[in-house]
């Protein structure tokens, strides 16, 4: 019999379809792990109908009815994606009782392939944060250590995959929210090119940067799941179709891989630099052509990001005003106090911090200096990356400054938490596809990741290159 422990999504799908294992068994297995690791707080709610759905799929398979490519495969969604009739809270008190009136396109595409959504995963409130400590329902703990953070904002999704609570999970990545927790928990996290996966039904954080992507055990699984996720959606005007890949890359030999000088300078001073350096040596040995790229604009990315993202979120979260949705402050007496009190009570500190920052950046008199300039920086970065990818096939960089930090280590110092995004936000600002793959462990055993990124819409090429690199790293 097939062992379910650490089985890849591709293999599980095959095993269920060929009746080596039933979907019911798979769901039961993953649910048992959810139970087992309940203290990690990775999952906010298990969907009661999962087993029922699994039995239905099993029946279909037995009856040799046609089923989708993901038939019976259990997955978990980050709790900012809508699934009809089920709660969606964004880990916020504001949406505590919100029941989805429709299903997000990305989720729907997986359900159309007969995958089974079994739970919704913990996250930082409204996807803001890099530790999953900003959840209104408690922090999610790291997969390998109860005293470390899971990373964020898709912390719950990453821990769920790492601890076999599902076959794969969906996360969303606005500044690194898929890649960083994937790295912290030793799994694969893929942020696709902006626009290749519909955002319809994803509760918006920063609309121009948000992207849904898979968190998986392997790069092959990431590609497999992504093949169902991507595509034009008539409900999301920013979606674009992926060009057909004509990349003939089959080995690392001769592959041009860039390292951004400015990244290197930061990384050199981090304790885990040796891990990154080791990969570079391995790649060189495999015949890859490593190039150092000077990108002065890189240092502007972080400040630009922390203007654009808060500005958009300030607008996106305006709808949580105490009029609709759950939380209306009880003491509110008039319309003004409904807004002020409800929002004061309903939002967590980090969310409030960013809303205030965003409103400041957009306010008249400051708009040009902040928002407009930040958009200019974004344009510069995009242009620069366009140029860079004329001379290299991919760039490589660490996913994070180090391994997962300790709980409460950075909550008092928001900007040091923000600096955690140092190596990830470039991909969101430049709309690039980027993937984090496991790359060893720190001295105290915390997982580390390495990140590869390609030109916008070269997602399939990226996945190919990543799998070649993963091959030499044994991922």
């Amino acid at each position: 019999m097939v062992s379910l422990k650490d089985i890849t999504t591709i293999k599980l799908a095959e095993a269920i379809k060929s009746q080596q294992i039933s979907s019911e068994q798979a769901v039961t297995y993953y649910l048992s792990n959810i139970k087992k690791y309940e203290h990690k707080n990775a999952v906010l709610e298990v969907f009661e109908d999962a087993l029922l759905k699994a039995k239905e799929i099993d029946k279909k398979i037995k009856a040799r009815e046609s089923v989708g490519a993901l038939a019976g495969v259990p997955f978990i969604i980050k709790d900012n994606m809508l699934c009809y009739g089920k709660k969606c809270t964004c880990a916020s008190k504001f949406m505590e009782d919100f029941v989805s009136p429709y299903t997000a396109t990305a989720v729907d595409r997986l359900l159309k392939q007969d995958a089974i959504v079994i739970a919704r995963a913990n996250m930082d409130e409204f996807a803001m944060g890099g530790s999953c400590e900003h959840s209104a329902f408690g922090a999610c703990l790291n997969a390998v250590s109860d005293s470390h953070v899971s990373g964020g904002s898709s912390g719950g999704s990453a821990v769920a995959v790492a601890l076999n609570m599902c076959s794969f999970a969906l996360g969303s990545d606005t500044g690194g929210s898929i890649r960083q927790p994937a790295s912290f928990n030793g799994v694969v996290g893929f942020k696709p090119s902006y626009g290749t996966v519909s955002r319809f039904g994803l509760v918006a954080f920063a609309s121009s940067l948000d992207q849904i992507g898979p968190i998986t055990k392997t790069i092959g699984d990431a590609e497999f799941v992504y093949s169902f996720l991507s595509g034009i959606d008539e409900h999301d005007q920013t979606t674009i179709s992926l060009p057909i890949s004509n990349s003939k890359i089959s080995s690392l030999k001769g592959l041009k891989i860039g390292i951004i000088k400015q990244v290197l300078e930061i990384a050199q001073n981090t304790p885990n630099y040796s891990h990154f350096k080791k990969i570079i040596d391995v790649l060189k040995n495999c015949g890859a052509n490593i190039q150092i790229i000077d990108m002065k604009e890189y240092d502007l990315a972080l400040p630009a990001y922390y203007i654009i993202a808060p500005s958009e979120v300030a607008s996106n979260l305006g709808r949580f005003d105490g009029i609709k949705y759950t939380k209306r402050a009880e003491q509110a007496k008039d319309i003004g106090s409904v807004y002020t009190l409800s929002r004061t009570e309903g939002f967590g500190e980090e969310v409030k911090r960013r809303i205030m920052l965003g409103n400041f950046c957009l306010s008249s008199g400051y708009y040009d200096a902040y928002y407009k300039n930040a958009k200019r920086v974004q344009k510069l970065l995009k242009n620069k990356f366009d140029e860079v990818f004329k001379s290299v096939d991919a760039i490589i960089l660490p996913t994070t400054l180090g391994g997962a930090f300790k709980l409460n280590e950075k909550t008092e110092e928001p900007t040091s938490m923000w600096a955690e995004d140092m190596f990830t936000i470039f991909a969101n600002l430049a709309e690039l596809p980027a993937i984090s793959i496991p790359n060893g462990k720190t001295a105290d055993g915390m997982p580390l990741g390495v990140q590869v990124a390609c030109k916008k819409l070269d997602d399939l090429k990226l996945l190919k290159i990543a799998s070649l690199i993963g091959g030499v790293l044994n991922v």
Binding site: N80, M81, H235, Q237, T238, S315, G318, L362
Partner: protein
């Protein structure tokens, strides 16, 4: 003292577009439905929902711009206007700021003065608050949320209430004739904001302006302008400064009062909506809109004078409202008697329309019925009094005029024998006329026709009657 001042007015006019769907979702754009029945996750601003721009709304906006000679932007951008209000589902309105669809344009007034137009942009309407009572509270109807609105902004070229109303009348007429908007004021289909300042004649510098919001009838616009101009001049004469503020016009009290001062003004924190890509408007689309643009009021007016030789005055009356023009054109086509149609509409139909407010002339009478009545008068199938009686009978009904005429006995039902007996009787009774026949045949025949119609109360067939009279009188020819 008032004559020492001049008034400077700029208008902002909102009109709801006549699209089938809302501007960012596929919900119906319909007035008067059950509250919250034309709603979906997009237009009630549910988390995760995204706007999808209606091409039809953009196209109608382009058409609106073409009616006033705007330049159509090759690239238009939608922006978010952020503010809190319970009728605004997302706490932002998708609107346009820096790159509107239509730029520039103007409308010429009768005096020859051109009122320049700054822009027309496309945006979404908000929902509607329904205040029940203190106890029950306030309800929100989101049916109107997401209905496409175009906002037209003029330059401060208007100098009186009369000019403002003339301008608005013309702009409204353009939108209606172009089939862009219905502009039903009483349904909120057209709303107007007035920016007004006054200055001493000859002054170059503009005075401090106030803004009056949401005036929903031309009468309110007129009264609000008159009131505000007077108020500002009186303040200045008293030596007071004008405060820059937003004022609310109260139609019942016939005065305006401060809504919020400049300091309390909202900061809308506009920025480009990341959910909507910039809209490229091709030359092809503009050409198509131009080709599809129907004849506007002024073009019709000129054509009626040219083609049908109608007096200018008549042509103007007929083209004031689209429905009148369409009724005129259709009935003229059916009868080939434009002059008679025009007279009948001006004398009878429009008077009837006035009896009941806000109805279309097509509710008064259909083109078919009107055409029948006019034809029947001209062929003497109906006497004029009967025709008018018939008009009264079919007005505001679905009845068919011809069958009503038959039912009411307005049309001849006399058999040929009956007809002959009446003619014989008349000849017998009018010996003198018979004698005169050889002197003036036409006159005598007409006399007998008149007598015949009188005797039969109009029930005689005109043609048959005339033939019969002619036949019978032949023997008295010599």
């Amino acid at each position: 003292m008032f004559s020492d001042y001049e008034v400077v007015i700029g208008l902002e006019v909102h009109a709801e577009l006549k699209t089938k769907t809302k501007v960012f979702c596929s919900c119906k754009n319909e007035f008067g439905s059950e509250p919250n029945s034309n709603c979906c996750p997009v237009c009630v601003g549910m988390p995760g929902a995204l706007p999808v721009l209606s091409k039809e709304a953009v196209f109608l906006t382009i058409k609106a711009g073409l009616t006033i000679g705007s330049q159509i932007s090759p690239l238009a951008v939608f922006e978010r206007k952020n503010y809190f209000y319970p009728d605004l589902a997302k706490a932002y309105q998708i609107s346009q700021l820096e790159k509107p669809i239509c730029v520039g344009g103007g409308i010429k007034l009768k005096s020859g003065k051109n009122i320049r137009i700054n822009r027309i942009h496309l945006e979404e309407d908000a929902g509607k608050l329904i205040h029940k009572s203190e106890v029950i509270g306030t309800f929100i109807d989101y049916n109107r949320g997401g209905v496409p609105l175009i906002e037209m902004v003029t330059e401060p070229d208007i100098s009186s209430a009369e000019e403002a109303v003339e301008f608005l009348t013309k702009y409204r007429r353009n939108l209606i004739f172009a089939s862009v908007a219905d502009c039903k004021m009483q349904e909120g289909g057209m709303r107007c904001d007035v920016n007004l300042s006054v200055r001493k004649k000859g002054d170059k510098k503009l005075g401090t302006r106030t803004e009056m919001k949401n005036l929903n009838s031309f009468k309110s616009v007129q009264r609000a302008i008159t009131y505000e101009a007077k108020r500002q001049i009186e303040e200045l004469e008293k030596g007071n400064a004008i405060r820059q503020e937003t004022r609310k016009w109260d139609d019942n009290k016939n005065r305006s009062f401060t809504m919020r001062s400049k300091e309390e003004a909202e900061d809308y924190r506009y920025f480009p909506d990341p959910d909507l890509l910039p809209v490229r408007i091709s030359e092809k689309t503009i050409t198509k809109a131009k080709a599809e643009l129907p004849e506007l009021s002024e073009q019709k007016r000129e054509r009626y004078v040219r083609e049908f030789s109608l007096p200018k005055y008549d042509a103007e009356i007929l083209t004031n409202e689209l429905d009148t023009a369409l009724l005129f054109e259709e009935a003229s086509r059916l009868t080939n008697m434009p002059k008679q149609v025009s007279n009948f509409i001006m004398t009878y139909v429009l008077a009837k329309k006035k009896e009941r407010d806000n109805l279309s002339v097509f509710d008064v009478i259909s083109a078919d019925n009107l055409a029948y009545i006019i034809k029947a008068i001209s062929t003497n199938e109906l006497t004029r009094p009967n025709a008018l009686m018939l008009f009264d009978m079919v007005c505001f009904t679905d009845k068919d005029a011809k069958s009503e005429a038959v039912k009411s006995g307005f049309i001849s039902k006399l058999s040929e024998a009956e007809l002959e007996s009446v003619v014989d009787f008349l000849i017998e009774q009018n010996a003198q006329a018979v004698k005169d026949y050889k002197l003036n045949q036409v006159k005598v025949e007409n006399f007998f026709m008149g007598q015949l119609m009188k005797q039969t109360k109009g029930k005689a067939d005109v043609n048959k009657g005339r033939t019969l009279i002619n036949e019978k009188l032949q023997k008295y020819k010599n």
